[in-house]
Symmetry: D2
Subunit: 124 residues, 4 copies
Protein backbone atom coordinates (compact mmCIF):
# COMPACT_ATOMS: atom_id res chain seq x y z
CA UNK A 1 0.00 0.00 0.00
CA UNK A 2 1.35 3.38 -0.96
CA UNK A 3 1.91 5.27 2.27
CA UNK A 4 1.45 8.61 0.50
CA UNK A 5 -2.16 7.93 -0.28
CA UNK A 6 -5.09 7.49 2.06
CA UNK A 7 -6.86 4.17 1.61
CA UNK A 8 -9.57 4.48 -1.02
CA UNK A 9 -13.08 4.82 0.39
CA UNK A 10 -15.13 1.62 0.32
CA UNK A 11 -17.68 1.76 -2.45
CA UNK A 12 -19.60 -1.38 -1.57
CA UNK A 13 -19.57 -4.86 -0.05
CA UNK A 14 -17.78 -6.30 -3.09
CA UNK A 15 -14.89 -3.95 -2.60
CA UNK A 16 -14.82 -4.71 1.12
CA UNK A 17 -14.66 -8.42 0.31
CA UNK A 18 -11.73 -7.82 -2.03
CA UNK A 19 -9.86 -5.66 0.48
CA UNK A 20 -10.27 -8.28 3.20
CA UNK A 21 -9.22 -11.06 0.85
CA UNK A 22 -6.03 -9.22 -0.05
CA UNK A 23 -5.42 -8.36 3.61
CA UNK A 24 -5.53 -12.03 4.62
CA UNK A 25 -3.47 -13.20 1.67
CA UNK A 26 -0.70 -10.68 2.26
CA UNK A 27 -0.42 -11.98 5.82
CA UNK A 28 -0.87 -15.65 4.98
CA UNK A 29 -3.85 -15.76 7.33
CA UNK A 30 -6.23 -17.77 5.17
CA UNK A 31 -5.04 -20.82 7.05
CA UNK A 32 -6.68 -19.46 10.23
CA UNK A 33 -9.79 -18.20 8.47
CA UNK A 34 -11.87 -21.34 8.41
CA UNK A 35 -15.60 -20.58 8.58
CA UNK A 36 -15.60 -22.26 12.01
CA UNK A 37 -12.94 -19.90 13.36
CA UNK A 38 -14.44 -16.87 11.68
CA UNK A 39 -17.84 -17.59 13.23
CA UNK A 40 -16.13 -17.51 16.64
CA UNK A 41 -14.42 -14.22 15.83
CA UNK A 42 -17.72 -12.78 14.62
CA UNK A 43 -19.60 -13.64 17.79
CA UNK A 44 -16.79 -12.30 19.94
CA UNK A 45 -17.16 -8.96 18.15
CA UNK A 46 -20.95 -9.11 18.43
CA UNK A 47 -20.49 -9.54 22.17
CA UNK A 48 -18.38 -6.39 22.38
CA UNK A 49 -21.36 -4.61 20.89
CA UNK A 50 -23.69 -6.17 23.46
CA UNK A 51 -21.29 -5.13 26.20
CA UNK A 52 -21.74 -1.46 25.29
CA UNK A 53 -25.45 -1.75 25.92
CA UNK A 54 -25.73 -4.21 28.78
CA UNK A 55 -26.19 -1.74 31.64
CA UNK A 56 -27.93 0.96 29.64
CA UNK A 57 -31.66 1.40 29.53
CA UNK A 58 -33.23 1.08 26.10
CA UNK A 59 -33.71 4.82 26.16
CA UNK A 60 -30.05 5.44 26.87
CA UNK A 61 -29.10 3.07 24.06
CA UNK A 62 -31.08 5.24 21.64
CA UNK A 63 -29.22 8.40 22.63
CA UNK A 64 -25.55 7.51 22.92
CA UNK A 65 -23.03 10.26 23.61
CA UNK A 66 -20.57 10.80 20.72
CA UNK A 67 -17.69 8.79 22.17
CA UNK A 68 -19.87 5.75 22.91
CA UNK A 69 -21.39 6.07 19.46
CA UNK A 70 -17.91 6.02 17.90
CA UNK A 71 -17.05 2.86 19.83
CA UNK A 72 -20.27 1.20 18.75
CA UNK A 73 -19.50 2.14 15.13
CA UNK A 74 -16.16 0.38 15.59
CA UNK A 75 -17.80 -2.81 16.85
CA UNK A 76 -20.33 -2.79 14.03
CA UNK A 77 -17.43 -2.55 11.57
CA UNK A 78 -15.72 -5.52 13.24
CA UNK A 79 -18.85 -7.61 12.86
CA UNK A 80 -19.24 -6.60 9.22
CA UNK A 81 -15.61 -7.52 8.50
CA UNK A 82 -16.06 -11.07 9.77
CA UNK A 83 -19.47 -11.39 8.16
CA UNK A 84 -18.12 -10.49 4.73
CA UNK A 85 -15.11 -12.70 5.30
CA UNK A 86 -17.18 -15.80 6.14
CA UNK A 87 -19.43 -15.19 3.15
CA UNK A 88 -16.37 -14.93 0.93
CA UNK A 89 -14.77 -18.12 2.29
CA UNK A 90 -18.00 -20.01 1.60
CA UNK A 91 -18.64 -18.28 -1.71
CA UNK A 92 -21.96 -16.90 -0.50
CA UNK A 93 -23.47 -13.75 -2.04
CA UNK A 94 -24.42 -11.82 1.07
CA UNK A 95 -26.81 -9.37 -0.56
CA UNK A 96 -28.57 -12.09 -2.53
CA UNK A 97 -29.00 -14.16 0.65
CA UNK A 98 -30.38 -11.09 2.42
CA UNK A 99 -32.74 -10.36 -0.45
CA UNK A 100 -34.21 -13.86 -0.01
CA UNK A 101 -34.48 -13.34 3.75
CA UNK A 102 -36.35 -10.05 3.30
CA UNK A 103 -38.85 -11.69 1.00
CA UNK A 104 -39.35 -14.45 3.60
CA UNK A 105 -39.85 -11.94 6.40
CA UNK A 106 -42.33 -9.92 4.39
CA UNK A 107 -44.39 -13.07 3.83
CA UNK A 108 -44.03 -14.23 7.44
CA UNK A 109 -45.01 -10.97 9.11
CA UNK A 110 -47.71 -9.29 7.00
CA UNK A 111 -47.90 -5.67 8.08
CA UNK A 112 -51.68 -5.70 8.24
CA UNK A 113 -51.70 -8.52 10.76
CA UNK A 114 -48.86 -7.65 13.11
CA UNK A 115 -48.95 -3.85 13.14
CA UNK A 116 -48.60 -2.15 16.50
CA UNK A 117 -48.79 -5.21 18.67
CA UNK A 118 -46.03 -5.93 21.10
CA UNK A 119 -47.68 -9.15 22.07
CA UNK A 120 -47.81 -10.45 18.56
CA UNK A 121 -44.27 -9.32 17.97
CA UNK A 122 -42.77 -11.26 20.82
CA UNK A 123 -44.82 -14.28 19.89
CA UNK A 124 -43.12 -14.61 16.55
CA UNK B 1 -45.88 -3.96 -1.98
CA UNK B 2 -47.26 -5.07 -5.30
CA UNK B 3 -47.85 -8.81 -5.01
CA UNK B 4 -47.49 -9.22 -8.76
CA UNK B 5 -43.84 -8.25 -8.72
CA UNK B 6 -40.91 -10.00 -7.12
CA UNK B 7 -39.07 -7.80 -4.62
CA UNK B 8 -36.42 -5.77 -6.39
CA UNK B 9 -32.88 -7.13 -5.97
CA UNK B 10 -30.82 -5.35 -3.34
CA UNK B 11 -28.32 -3.05 -4.99
CA UNK B 12 -26.35 -2.09 -1.88
CA UNK B 13 -26.35 -1.50 1.87
CA UNK B 14 -28.15 1.81 1.49
CA UNK B 15 -31.04 0.10 -0.18
CA UNK B 16 -31.06 -2.63 2.45
CA UNK B 17 -31.21 0.04 5.16
CA UNK B 18 -34.18 1.66 3.44
CA UNK B 19 -36.02 -1.62 3.00
CA UNK B 20 -35.54 -2.51 6.66
CA UNK B 21 -36.60 0.94 7.77
CA UNK B 22 -39.81 0.67 5.80
CA UNK B 23 -40.38 -2.86 7.03
CA UNK B 24 -40.23 -1.76 10.67
CA UNK B 25 -42.33 1.34 10.11
CA UNK B 26 -45.09 -0.55 8.35
CA UNK B 27 -45.31 -2.86 11.36
CA UNK B 28 -44.84 -0.15 14.00
CA UNK B 29 -41.84 -2.06 15.30
CA UNK B 30 -39.45 0.86 15.79
CA UNK B 31 -40.59 0.88 19.41
CA UNK B 32 -38.91 -2.52 19.91
CA UNK B 33 -35.85 -1.68 17.86
CA UNK B 34 -33.74 0.08 20.44
CA UNK B 35 -30.01 -0.44 19.81
CA UNK B 36 -29.94 -2.43 23.06
CA UNK B 37 -32.60 -4.87 21.86
CA UNK B 38 -31.15 -5.05 18.36
CA UNK B 39 -27.72 -5.95 19.75
CA UNK B 40 -29.37 -8.88 21.53
CA UNK B 41 -31.13 -9.99 18.36
CA UNK B 42 -27.86 -9.70 16.44
CA UNK B 43 -25.91 -11.89 18.83
CA UNK B 44 -28.71 -14.46 18.90
CA UNK B 45 -28.40 -14.72 15.11
CA UNK B 46 -24.60 -14.85 15.32
CA UNK B 47 -24.99 -17.78 17.70
CA UNK B 48 -27.13 -19.66 15.20
CA UNK B 49 -24.20 -19.32 12.84
CA UNK B 50 -21.81 -20.64 15.49
CA UNK B 51 -24.17 -23.53 16.12
CA UNK B 52 -23.78 -24.72 12.54
CA UNK B 53 -20.06 -25.07 13.05
CA UNK B 54 -19.71 -26.18 16.67
CA UNK B 55 -19.23 -29.91 16.11
CA UNK B 56 -17.54 -29.65 12.71
CA UNK B 57 -13.81 -29.74 12.21
CA UNK B 58 -12.31 -26.66 10.61
CA UNK B 59 -11.86 -28.71 7.47
CA UNK B 60 -15.52 -29.68 7.41
CA UNK B 61 -16.48 -26.05 7.91
CA UNK B 62 -14.56 -25.14 4.75
CA UNK B 63 -16.44 -27.70 2.66
CA UNK B 64 -20.10 -27.49 3.63
CA UNK B 65 -22.61 -29.57 1.71
CA UNK B 66 -25.13 -27.44 -0.25
CA UNK B 67 -27.97 -27.64 2.28
CA UNK B 68 -25.75 -26.61 5.19
CA UNK B 69 -24.28 -23.84 3.07
CA UNK B 70 -27.79 -22.54 2.33
CA UNK B 71 -28.60 -22.48 6.04
CA UNK B 72 -25.39 -20.65 6.81
CA UNK B 73 -26.22 -18.10 4.09
CA UNK B 74 -29.52 -17.57 5.88
CA UNK B 75 -27.85 -16.93 9.22
CA UNK B 76 -25.36 -14.52 7.65
CA UNK B 77 -28.31 -12.61 6.18
CA UNK B 78 -29.96 -12.43 9.61
CA UNK B 79 -26.82 -10.96 11.11
CA UNK B 80 -26.51 -8.42 8.29
CA UNK B 81 -30.13 -7.36 8.75
CA UNK B 82 -29.63 -6.51 12.43
CA UNK B 83 -26.24 -4.94 11.77
CA UNK B 84 -27.67 -2.56 9.18
CA UNK B 85 -30.65 -1.87 11.42
CA UNK B 86 -28.53 -0.91 14.45
CA UNK B 87 -26.34 1.32 12.29
CA UNK B 88 -29.43 3.03 10.95
CA UNK B 89 -30.97 3.55 14.38
CA UNK B 90 -27.74 5.18 15.56
CA UNK B 91 -27.18 7.07 12.31
CA UNK B 92 -23.84 5.34 11.73
CA UNK B 93 -22.40 4.96 8.23
CA UNK B 94 -21.41 1.31 8.25
CA UNK B 95 -19.07 1.39 5.26
CA UNK B 96 -17.31 4.53 6.47
CA UNK B 97 -16.82 2.96 9.92
CA UNK B 98 -15.45 -0.17 8.24
CA UNK B 99 -13.12 1.89 6.07
CA UNK B 100 -11.61 3.43 9.22
CA UNK B 101 -11.29 -0.02 10.79
CA UNK B 102 -9.46 -1.39 7.74
CA UNK B 103 -6.97 1.45 7.85
CA UNK B 104 -6.41 0.75 11.57
CA UNK B 105 -5.89 -2.95 10.94
CA UNK B 106 -3.45 -2.32 8.11
CA UNK B 107 -1.38 -0.13 10.43
CA UNK B 108 -1.65 -2.56 13.35
CA UNK B 109 -0.67 -5.72 11.46
CA UNK B 110 1.97 -4.79 8.87
CA UNK B 111 2.13 -7.65 6.38
CA UNK B 112 5.92 -7.71 6.40
CA UNK B 113 6.02 -8.32 10.13
CA UNK B 114 3.22 -10.80 10.72
CA UNK B 115 3.25 -12.87 7.54
CA UNK B 116 2.88 -16.62 7.94
CA UNK B 117 3.15 -16.77 11.68
CA UNK B 118 0.46 -18.47 13.64
CA UNK B 119 2.15 -17.54 16.86
CA UNK B 120 2.26 -13.87 16.07
CA UNK B 121 -1.29 -14.03 14.84
CA UNK B 122 -2.73 -15.40 18.02
CA UNK B 123 -0.66 -12.95 20.05
CA UNK B 124 -2.39 -9.96 18.51
CA UNK C 1 -29.04 -46.64 34.25
CA UNK C 2 -31.76 -48.55 36.01
CA UNK C 3 -34.99 -47.60 34.30
CA UNK C 4 -36.97 -48.37 37.44
CA UNK C 5 -35.36 -45.58 39.38
CA UNK C 6 -35.57 -41.86 38.82
CA UNK C 7 -32.15 -40.28 38.31
CA UNK C 8 -30.64 -39.33 41.66
CA UNK C 9 -30.94 -35.63 42.48
CA UNK C 10 -27.79 -33.62 41.85
CA UNK C 11 -26.07 -32.84 45.12
CA UNK C 12 -23.44 -30.45 43.82
CA UNK C 13 -21.20 -29.40 40.93
CA UNK C 14 -18.84 -32.32 41.52
CA UNK C 15 -21.64 -34.76 40.98
CA UNK C 16 -22.79 -32.89 37.90
CA UNK C 17 -19.25 -33.08 36.50
CA UNK C 18 -19.19 -36.84 37.11
CA UNK C 19 -22.61 -37.37 35.50
CA UNK C 20 -21.58 -35.40 32.42
CA UNK C 21 -18.28 -37.22 32.19
CA UNK C 22 -20.02 -40.58 32.25
CA UNK C 23 -22.62 -39.36 29.78
CA UNK C 24 -19.94 -38.39 27.23
CA UNK C 25 -17.92 -41.54 27.78
CA UNK C 26 -20.89 -43.85 27.31
CA UNK C 27 -21.54 -42.16 23.95
CA UNK C 28 -17.88 -41.87 22.93
CA UNK C 29 -18.37 -38.12 22.61
CA UNK C 30 -15.17 -36.96 24.27
CA UNK C 31 -13.68 -36.74 20.80
CA UNK C 32 -16.09 -33.86 20.01
CA UNK C 33 -15.73 -32.19 23.40
CA UNK C 34 -12.62 -30.14 22.83
CA UNK C 35 -12.66 -26.93 24.88
CA UNK C 36 -12.86 -25.03 21.58
CA UNK C 37 -16.04 -26.85 20.52
CA UNK C 38 -17.54 -26.71 24.00
CA UNK C 39 -17.03 -22.94 24.14
CA UNK C 40 -19.05 -22.69 20.92
CA UNK C 41 -21.81 -24.88 22.34
CA UNK C 42 -21.84 -22.80 25.52
CA UNK C 43 -22.27 -19.50 23.72
CA UNK C 44 -24.98 -20.97 21.52
CA UNK C 45 -26.91 -21.87 24.67
CA UNK C 46 -26.21 -18.46 26.21
CA UNK C 47 -27.72 -16.91 23.08
CA UNK C 48 -30.92 -18.92 23.52
CA UNK C 49 -31.16 -17.30 26.93
CA UNK C 50 -30.63 -13.85 25.40
CA UNK C 51 -33.29 -14.62 22.82
CA UNK C 52 -35.91 -15.06 25.55
CA UNK C 53 -35.26 -11.52 26.72
CA UNK C 54 -34.49 -9.60 23.56
CA UNK C 55 -37.89 -8.00 22.97
CA UNK C 56 -38.92 -7.78 26.62
CA UNK C 57 -38.54 -4.69 28.73
CA UNK C 58 -36.33 -5.05 31.78
CA UNK C 59 -39.47 -4.97 33.86
CA UNK C 60 -41.03 -7.80 31.90
CA UNK C 61 -37.82 -9.81 32.25
CA UNK C 62 -38.15 -9.55 36.04
CA UNK C 63 -41.67 -10.94 36.03
CA UNK C 64 -41.73 -13.85 33.62
CA UNK C 65 -44.89 -15.93 33.31
CA UNK C 66 -44.42 -19.56 34.48
CA UNK C 67 -43.95 -21.09 31.03
CA UNK C 68 -41.30 -18.56 30.01
CA UNK C 69 -39.61 -19.02 33.37
CA UNK C 70 -39.48 -22.79 32.80
CA UNK C 71 -37.87 -22.26 29.40
CA UNK C 72 -35.31 -19.88 30.87
CA UNK C 73 -34.52 -22.46 33.58
CA UNK C 74 -33.86 -24.91 30.77
CA UNK C 75 -31.44 -22.57 29.02
CA UNK C 76 -29.62 -21.83 32.26
CA UNK C 77 -29.19 -25.58 32.74
CA UNK C 78 -27.76 -25.91 29.23
CA UNK C 79 -25.20 -23.22 29.94
CA UNK C 80 -24.25 -24.84 33.25
CA UNK C 81 -23.79 -28.21 31.56
CA UNK C 82 -21.27 -26.85 29.07
CA UNK C 83 -19.59 -24.71 31.70
CA UNK C 84 -18.97 -27.69 33.96
CA UNK C 85 -17.90 -29.76 30.99
CA UNK C 86 -15.26 -27.27 29.81
CA UNK C 87 -13.93 -26.91 33.34
CA UNK C 88 -13.65 -30.68 33.59
CA UNK C 89 -11.88 -31.06 30.25
CA UNK C 90 -9.32 -28.46 31.32
CA UNK C 91 -9.09 -29.75 34.88
CA UNK C 92 -10.23 -26.42 36.32
CA UNK C 93 -11.91 -26.20 39.72
CA UNK C 94 -14.88 -23.99 38.92
CA UNK C 95 -15.75 -23.00 42.49
CA UNK C 96 -12.14 -22.21 43.36
CA UNK C 97 -11.82 -20.05 40.23
CA UNK C 98 -15.05 -18.27 41.19
CA UNK C 99 -13.84 -17.74 44.74
CA UNK C 100 -10.77 -15.94 43.36
CA UNK C 101 -12.96 -13.86 41.06
CA UNK C 102 -15.23 -12.80 43.94
CA UNK C 103 -12.25 -11.67 45.95
CA UNK C 104 -11.04 -9.65 42.94
CA UNK C 105 -14.44 -8.05 42.44
CA UNK C 106 -14.75 -7.15 46.10
CA UNK C 107 -11.40 -5.35 45.88
CA UNK C 108 -12.20 -3.71 42.55
CA UNK C 109 -15.61 -2.35 43.47
CA UNK C 110 -15.54 -1.27 47.13
CA UNK C 111 -19.13 -0.93 48.28
CA UNK C 112 -18.48 2.40 49.98
CA UNK C 113 -17.28 3.97 46.76
CA UNK C 114 -19.67 2.61 44.15
CA UNK C 115 -22.92 2.35 46.09
CA UNK C 116 -26.05 3.57 44.38
CA UNK C 117 -24.44 5.13 41.37
CA UNK C 118 -25.49 4.07 37.92
CA UNK C 119 -22.91 6.31 36.38
CA UNK C 120 -20.07 4.77 38.33
CA UNK C 121 -21.42 1.34 37.62
CA UNK C 122 -21.38 1.68 33.88
CA UNK C 123 -17.97 3.31 34.02
CA UNK C 124 -16.39 0.21 35.46
CA UNK D 1 -15.83 -7.47 55.19
CA UNK D 2 -13.03 -7.92 57.67
CA UNK D 3 -9.81 -7.13 55.84
CA UNK D 4 -7.82 -9.35 58.21
CA UNK D 5 -9.49 -12.50 57.00
CA UNK D 6 -9.36 -14.14 53.60
CA UNK D 7 -12.79 -14.64 52.05
CA UNK D 8 -14.21 -17.99 53.07
CA UNK D 9 -13.92 -20.69 50.42
CA UNK D 10 -17.09 -21.32 48.44
CA UNK D 11 -18.73 -24.53 49.59
CA UNK D 12 -21.41 -24.74 46.91
CA UNK D 13 -23.73 -22.93 44.51
CA UNK D 14 -26.04 -21.88 47.33
CA UNK D 15 -23.24 -20.08 49.06
CA UNK D 16 -22.17 -18.47 45.79
CA UNK D 17 -25.73 -17.25 45.28
CA UNK D 18 -25.74 -15.72 48.76
CA UNK D 19 -22.36 -14.04 48.29
CA UNK D 20 -23.45 -12.52 44.98
CA UNK D 21 -26.74 -11.39 46.45
CA UNK D 22 -24.97 -9.61 49.28
CA UNK D 23 -22.42 -8.16 46.85
CA UNK D 24 -25.15 -6.57 44.73
CA UNK D 25 -27.14 -5.35 47.71
CA UNK D 26 -24.17 -3.67 49.34
CA UNK D 27 -23.59 -1.75 46.10
CA UNK D 28 -27.26 -1.08 45.38
CA UNK D 29 -26.83 -2.83 42.03
CA UNK D 30 -30.01 -4.89 42.03
CA UNK D 31 -31.56 -2.09 39.99
CA UNK D 32 -29.21 -2.96 37.09
CA UNK D 33 -29.52 -6.70 37.53
CA UNK D 34 -32.66 -7.38 35.56
CA UNK D 35 -32.60 -10.83 33.95
CA UNK D 36 -32.47 -9.07 30.59
CA UNK D 37 -29.31 -7.15 31.48
CA UNK D 38 -27.75 -10.15 33.21
CA UNK D 39 -28.28 -12.29 30.11
CA UNK D 40 -26.33 -9.70 28.13
CA UNK D 41 -23.53 -9.69 30.69
CA UNK D 42 -23.46 -13.48 30.65
CA UNK D 43 -23.09 -13.73 26.89
CA UNK D 44 -20.41 -11.05 26.88
CA UNK D 45 -18.41 -13.21 29.31
CA UNK D 46 -19.11 -16.34 27.27
CA UNK D 47 -17.68 -14.52 24.27
CA UNK D 48 -14.46 -13.78 26.13
CA UNK D 49 -14.17 -17.52 26.59
CA UNK D 50 -14.75 -18.10 22.87
CA UNK D 51 -12.15 -15.47 22.10
CA UNK D 52 -9.48 -17.51 23.87
CA UNK D 53 -10.13 -20.41 21.53
CA UNK D 54 -10.98 -18.77 18.23
CA UNK D 55 -7.61 -19.11 16.50
CA UNK D 56 -6.51 -22.30 18.25
CA UNK D 57 -6.89 -25.74 16.78
CA UNK D 58 -9.04 -28.14 18.76
CA UNK D 59 -5.86 -29.92 19.75
CA UNK D 60 -4.30 -26.72 21.07
CA UNK D 61 -7.48 -25.99 23.01
CA UNK D 62 -7.10 -29.30 24.81
CA UNK D 63 -3.56 -28.53 25.92
CA UNK D 64 -3.50 -24.92 27.07
CA UNK D 65 -0.33 -23.51 28.59
CA UNK D 66 -0.75 -22.55 32.30
CA UNK D 67 -1.26 -18.81 31.75
CA UNK D 68 -3.95 -19.36 29.11
CA UNK D 69 -5.58 -21.94 31.34
CA UNK D 70 -5.68 -19.44 34.21
CA UNK D 71 -7.37 -16.88 31.96
CA UNK D 72 -9.91 -19.43 30.80
CA UNK D 73 -10.62 -20.32 34.45
CA UNK D 74 -11.31 -16.64 35.01
CA UNK D 75 -13.79 -16.46 32.15
CA UNK D 76 -15.56 -19.61 33.31
CA UNK D 77 -15.95 -18.01 36.73
CA UNK D 78 -17.42 -14.88 35.14
CA UNK D 79 -20.00 -16.96 33.31
CA UNK D 80 -20.88 -18.88 36.48
CA UNK D 81 -21.33 -15.66 38.41
CA UNK D 82 -23.92 -14.31 35.97
CA UNK D 83 -25.57 -17.69 35.62
CA UNK D 84 -26.11 -18.00 39.37
CA UNK D 85 -27.21 -14.39 39.53
CA UNK D 86 -29.90 -14.77 36.84
CA UNK D 87 -31.17 -17.96 38.46
CA UNK D 88 -31.40 -16.15 41.80
CA UNK D 89 -33.22 -13.13 40.33
CA UNK D 90 -35.80 -15.47 38.78
CA UNK D 91 -35.95 -17.77 41.78
CA UNK D 92 -34.81 -20.76 39.72
CA UNK D 93 -33.08 -23.73 41.35
CA UNK D 94 -30.14 -24.21 39.00
CA UNK D 95 -29.22 -27.74 40.06
CA UNK D 96 -32.81 -28.94 39.96
CA UNK D 97 -33.21 -27.48 36.44
CA UNK D 98 -30.00 -29.21 35.40
CA UNK D 99 -31.15 -32.48 36.90
CA UNK D 100 -34.25 -32.33 34.70
CA UNK D 101 -32.12 -31.49 31.67
CA UNK D 102 -29.82 -34.46 32.29
CA UNK D 103 -32.78 -36.80 32.47
CA UNK D 104 -34.06 -35.35 29.17
CA UNK D 105 -30.70 -35.76 27.49
CA UNK D 106 -30.33 -39.32 28.68
CA UNK D 107 -33.70 -40.16 27.14
CA UNK D 108 -32.99 -38.22 23.94
CA UNK D 109 -29.56 -39.70 23.22
CA UNK D 110 -29.60 -43.35 24.29
CA UNK D 111 -25.99 -44.49 24.54
CA UNK D 112 -26.65 -47.72 22.66
CA UNK D 113 -27.95 -45.85 19.64
CA UNK D 114 -25.57 -42.91 19.32
CA UNK D 115 -22.29 -44.38 20.51
CA UNK D 116 -19.18 -43.53 18.50
CA UNK D 117 -20.90 -41.84 15.63
CA UNK D 118 -19.87 -38.36 14.65
CA UNK D 119 -22.52 -38.26 12.00
CA UNK D 120 -25.28 -39.13 14.39
CA UNK D 121 -23.90 -36.67 16.89
CA UNK D 122 -23.96 -33.69 14.58
CA UNK D 123 -27.42 -34.65 13.39
CA UNK D 124 -28.90 -34.21 16.82
Amino acid sequence: MNADLPPAALADLGELRDRLRRFAQERDWDQFHSPKNLSMALIAEAAELVEHFQWLTEEESRALPPDARAKVADELADVLVYLVRIADRLDIDLLAATERKLADNEAKYPAARVRGSAKKYSDY
